[in-house]
């Protein structure tokens, strides 16, 4: 019903925000590239869509005065988590704008900071979008256009937050969180995550490490040799 839907959407938004945060970490560093900027754009657009959807679903119950106390408490809890998530997203978007302006990709005299992070982050973005993989299709000056777009989106998100504060009155300090201290240690298996499309996508475990492949081949070779030896021993005896 409505609450479960909201919860599912909120989990998806949470996932998108976490992935966006993870991607923004690497702007300006050695992993910064056009692909990264594209991934950032896709992730944040997805997050914004989710935010609009959640808001549309959460606002009516909270403005409905006839709602029961328990139901209302539940919705308020979701609302607090939602607005917190949105604020985290907005803060990360602002930082992305600041960093993106400071470290333009194609400026000749502004090298990127060599931080040691090298690999691509398409896996992270794919996770945010609940897709199997990501296609990169940007043009050369993508990052400059993207920054303008980002500015507009930041303004939109800011307005949305402002609007939310005006329309729905939820005093945050009265909300009792359900998770206790140390709750994250219990079953790290997420509590009922189902992505938007209703289909839980199996996440790829990322590109196989060369070392893992090597270890696997050596192990299988040793196993084969052991089997062959056992067969020989059995035949001879």
């Amino acid at each position: 019903m409505a609450k479960e839907e909201c919860k599912a959407l909120l989990d998806a938004l949470n996932k998108a925000t976490a992935c966006y945060h993870h991607l923004v970490l690497t702007i300006g560093g050695s992993a910064d590239s056009q692909n990264l900027r594209e991934e950032l754009q896709k992730t944040r657009q997805k997050a914004q869509e989710l935010a609009v959807a959640i808001r549309a679903r959460l606002t009516p119950p909270l403005r409905d005065r006839g709602l029961g106390a328990e139901e209302r408490a539940e919705f308020e809890r979701l609302w607090v988590a939602f607005s917190g998530c949105l604020e985290l997203l907005e803060a990360d978007m602002r930082r992305a704008l600041a960093l993106g302006t400071e470290f333009p990709l194609h400026a000749p005299r502004r090298p990127l900071v060599r931080t040691g992070v090298e690999g691509g982050a398409s896996g992270v973005a794919a996770r945010a979008l609940s897709a199997r993989s990501l296609r990169h299709e940007g043009e050369r000056d993508f990052d400059v256009e993207d920054l303008h777009q980002l500015e507009r989106e930041i303004l939109k998100v800011g307005e949305m937050i402002q609007d939310m504060e005006m329309k729905v009155n939820v005093p945050r300090w009265t909300v009792q969180a359900r998770q206790t201290a140390g709750a994250e240690l219990l079953s790290s298996a997420s509590a009922g995550v189902s992505s938007v499309g209703g289909v839980s996508v199996q996440q790829r475990t990322g590109p196989c490490d060369l070392s893992k492949a090597l270890a696997a081949t050596i192990f299988s070779a040793v196993l084969l040799a052991a089997v062959a030896l056992a067969v020989c021993v059995a035949k001879l005896s």
């Binding site: 949470n14 992935c19 560093g29 590109p207």
Partner: protein, 451 residues
């Protein structure tokens, strides 16, 4: 200063003229972009033409502010000029981007660490965790959700990248929430806040205002520094022996010996004042009036001279000035009846002009209506009664009776390292080699410190 450090870090990244980079090998993973402390110091010396200690100091500043972090001993943020490897911090975690650190972010970081270490957090982190749980309890759901998701997102990366990012985050929080005992570089001392000079527009208006300011400053009356300094010297020499820090306090400094006899003996209302206190009354009339014991004795003296109504009037005016607003009309009326009305019981002698002005003002009473009269009486007492008081027998008796507390004896126990009397009293020494004039500790008479 942060921007300058960031510019230095960025110029270190230049592929041709930057710092030499190496790779770090960890078992099977290889992570590039490591620099040795030595290379950093040499690069700084070469680029900015500075000496080695300055380069070392600059490098240490970079590490302490989190722009560079050590790879082997991440908790000790200092730059070693040897082969210890360091790595650059990602711009996201630079001070200019992410400052001040938010409580929610710290909570998420601690929750992530909790998950990774299966609950084994360091002591101060555990304390912070509990404190945050109380403070931002309402968003704790979000904290747990974000912590779990951020860890899952991190798993999508290669192992090397994951390690690097974890180190980066750890460094950021080591700088922004240092463990107890480590000084925080983010604390701004008193002198740093003063250089907040904003860019001022050099317009015509600005210059006009400056000229006006300077003109007003020229017109102000100034005292010659020779006069000022003389007064200052006189003040210091007079007050030197009375200062507990400079001349020690008897019987002993309560902060050192935990013995509060000193405070008990110098309480506002005490039966027998100390000698230093009685001597202080001779410095100025204000000192005498401000001390309750002094004021009481002065009142006694005035009663022998039959001019006690002056002091009573002055006290009544003080009460008016500092009292409640609602009592003002009643008090003004009472004062008038008692002191100012012709034929009053305790009539005070005010000159005719002040009296006229005061009587006019009484029609509309406010708390400052008696100020002129009070000042007149004050000056009268100061010029007339006060010098007589200082020469009187009453005062001389007070001086003779005043008590000089004895210095507490040192304890005999040899293992008491704490000195009982850390500020020795020069007042009891027979000769004063510090050159303090005898007049300060000597005669009480003729000492009107006010100019």
């Amino acid at each position: 200063m942060r921007m300058r450090m960031e510019r230095v870090v960025v110029s270190m990244q230049d592929p041709d003229q930057g710092v030499k980079m190496q790779s770090q090998r960890l078992l099977i993973t290889v992570i590039p972009h490591a620099v040795t402390g030595n290379d950093v110091v040499e690069w700084l010396i070469q680029k900015y033409c500075i000496a080695e200690d300055e380069a070392l100091h600059l490098g240490t500043l970079l590490v302490q502010h989190g722009y560079l972090y050590p790879l082997r001993d991440p908790r000790r943020l200092l730059l070693r000029p040897d082969e210890t490897p360091y790595r650059f911090q990602t711009p996201y975690f630079w001070m200019s981007t992410l400052w001040p650190a938010a409580e929610l972010d710290y909570a998420i970081y601690l929750a992530k660490k909790n998950i990774r270490k299966q609950g084994a957090l360091v002591d101060h982190e555990k304390a912070h965790y509990d404190q945050l749980h109380r403070k931002i309890n309402h968003t704790w759901d979000l904290v747990v959700m974000q912590a779990r998701e951020q860890l899952r997102a991190a798993k999508q990366r290669r192992k090397g990248d994951r390690l690097v990012i974890a180190c980066q985050e750890q460094t950021y929080w080591l700088v922004n929430r240092p463990p107890p005992g480590v000084p925080s570089v983010l604390e701004q001392g008193p002198e740093r806040g003063s250089c907040t000079a904003r860019q001022v527009q050099m317009t015509v208006d600005f210059y006009k205002r400056e000229i006006e300011c300077c003109r007003k400053a020229l017109g102000r009356t100034r005292v010659k520094s020779s006069v000022c300094l003389e007064a200052y010297l006189k003040f210091s020499s007079q007050r030197g022996p009375h200062d507990p820090l400079l001349s020690g306090c008897l019987p002993s400094n309560p902060w050192v010996t935990d013995d509060d006899t000193y405070w008990a003996m110098n309480a506002p209302s005490v039966a027998v004042p100390t000698k230093l206190r009685v001597e202080q009354w001779a410095f100025s009339f204000r000192e005498l009036l401000e001390d309750p014991v002094g004021r009481a004795h002065f009142m006694d003296f005035l009663q022998t001279e039959f001019s006690a109504e002056n002091l009573s009037f002055w006290e009544a005016c003080e009460e008016l000035r500092h009292g409640g607003q609602a009592q003002v009309p009643a008090l003004v009326d009472a004062v008038y009846q008692q002191f100012l009305a012709p034929g009053a019981a305790r009539w005070v002698n005010i000159d005719s002009r002040t009296m006229e002005r005061t009587l006019e003002g009484l029609g509309r009473p406010h708390r400052h209506v008696l100020d002129d009269a009070q000042l007149h009486i004050y000056m009268l007492m100061k010029k007339d009664s006060y010098p007589r008081f200082l020469k009187s027998d009453l005062y001389k008796d007070l001086l003779a009776e005043a008590v000089v507390p004895l210095e507490t004896k040192r304890r005999v126990f040899p293992f008491m390292w704490k000195p009982r009397h850390s500020s020795p009293s020069l007042a009891l020494l027979p000769t004063s080699t510090s050159g303090e004039p005898e007049a300060a500790a000597g005669s009480p008479g003729g000492g009107d410190g006010e100019t």
